[in-house]
């Protein structure tokens, strides 16, 4: 599981972060974002790439578990 901290970043940066990691070989990622736009955009991008996404929210921060 690769952990990515994208808190405080606005789109498209969190997606680019995830995309660059997906180019390496890890099969599962956890990415933390702190705005709904990033949450929705990252979820959409991961779905497009054939991944499943589970979201949990705590204090305005969203943890996205992204797995095949």
């Amino acid at each position: 599981m690769k952990l990515l901290d994208a808190r405080g970043l606005s789109c498209p940066e969190p997606i680019i972060m995830l995309r660059n990691e997906m180019n390496s070989s890890a099969a599962a990622y956890q990415i933390i974002v702190d705005n709904t736009a990033a949450r929705e955009n990252v979820t959409r991008y991961a779905h497009h790439q054939g991944y499943q996404v589970e979201v949990s929210e705590k204090g305005g921060e969203y943890t996205l578990n992204i797995t095949r």
Binding site: R7, L9, C11, T36, A37, R44, H48
Partner: protein
């Protein structure tokens, strides 16, 4: 919400925004300028006396409404969050230079679409440069360009920008002697819809843009980066709805809202190269800022103080553009303006390069 619904929502929002923009010209705004964030911020700078170009001075209520509309909907959707601290001075400089590019072309990306919708083919040169600028910006983004993260800020900090807009509204209504308004028939600044109409139009478009995250730069950027068409669908919807409404207005009213061609276009010049270079500067600058001038207003309404600083950069850029003779006119670009755009492109490339390849070295 599913992607299909998101796309449908943004297309409907785009259609409504296109109609509002076209109607604003009918109700008094300059032709092809129902909305122009760059022009309206420039007019506002002029009204405040930051520049003295008498033809373009008016506190545009659309700007105030956009920020209010975004703020109200963001509060309603619990998306208002005071945040900032991501390279504010860099954003100020980028905002300043984006305005230099916009005033070379004579319009922001939003007005570029409206000019196309009015048949102004000069905007195609602008669009070519704009797309080129976005490709250049995407290159740096892909290589790791970042202005670093934002941080949560006190609530007051996030609301100050809304307060500033409220003060502008008071100044517009009270019209004290130190506020400058273009004399009747004195230029584009004198052409405006009624205050309340403009304000309500701004609120509506601000709310729709907040809801859909509509962005003129984001549309092309996301297609280039991720093959994601959602935002671009909004952009295209505005183009077609404003185009159809302009044709309709041309048929049913005595005035002309669609005039296909290059010469004789309202508030425009025909220098293709400099139209393209101006929008190149705007395109790359906006990618580096994370959004077009409209999007910056919406983000400022959501409590993003970095976007607030960007808007102030745009307004100061507009003031300098007129004080230093950088802004184009219907007669064409100025020598100073050409030099400023070239310098602007060089500075933006330096900012992009440093924040991509040397960003960790303090």
């Amino acid at each position: 919400m599913s992607l299909k619904n998101e796309k449908a929502t943004i297309v409907v929002a785009g259609i409504v925004i296109g109609i509002i923009a076209s109607l604003l010209s009918f109700l008094g705004n300059p032709i092809n300028m129902g909305f122009c964030i760059a022009c309206f911020l420039r007019d506002t700078s002029g009204a405040l006396g930051l520049h003295s170009a008498a033809a373009v001075q008016y506190i545009r209520p659309e700007i105030i409404g956009l920020v209010f509309g975004s703020f109200l909907l963001a509060c309603g959707r619990k998306e208002f969050a005071a945040k900032g601290g991501s390279a504010p001075l860099t954003r100020f400089v980028l905002g300043f230079l984006v305005m230099i590019g916009c005033l070379m072309f004579l319009g922001c990306p939003f007005r570029m679409i409206l000019r196309l919708a009015g048949g102004d083919l000069n905007a195609i040169f602008g669009l070519v440069g704009f797309v080129g600028g976005i490709f250049a910006g995407v290159f740096f983004l892909s290589k790791g360009y970042s202005l670093k993260r934002t941080y949560k800020l006190p609530a007051l900090e996030g609301r100050l920008f809304i307060g500033i807009e409220a003060v502008l509204l008071v100044l517009l209504i009270a019209a004290p002697a130190f506020i400058h308004f273009t004399e009747p028939d004195g230029g584009p600044g004198a052409k405006h819809a009624a205050l309340l109409v403009s304000l309500v139009a701004g609120v509506a478009v601000g709310a729709l843009a907040q809801r859909t995250r509509l962005c003129m730069v984001g549309g092309i950027r996301d297609v280039v980066l991720f093959r994601e068409w959602k935002l671009l669908a909004g952009f295209i919807a505005i183009l077609f709805s404003a185009l159809l409404f302009n044709l309709l207005l041309t048929v049913v009213t005595p005035d002309v809202y669609f005039n296909l061609g290059l010469s004789g276009q309202p508030v425009a010049h025909t220098d293709g190269l400099w139209n393209a270079l101006g929008m190149f500067l705007t395109g790359i600058g906006c990618v580096l800022l994370g959004g077009c001038p409209l999007r910056q207003l919406v983000l400022a309404g959501e409590g993003n103080t970095d976007s607030g600083i960007t808007i102030i950069g745009l307004m100061v850029g507009a003031a300098f553009a007129h004080n230093f003779g950088l802004a184009s006119s219907a007669a064409g670009p100025t020598a100073n303006g050409r030099m400023a755009v070239v310098i602007g492109i060089a500075v933006v490339l330096l900012i992009a390069g440093f924040n991509t390849f040397y960003k960790n070295e303090a």
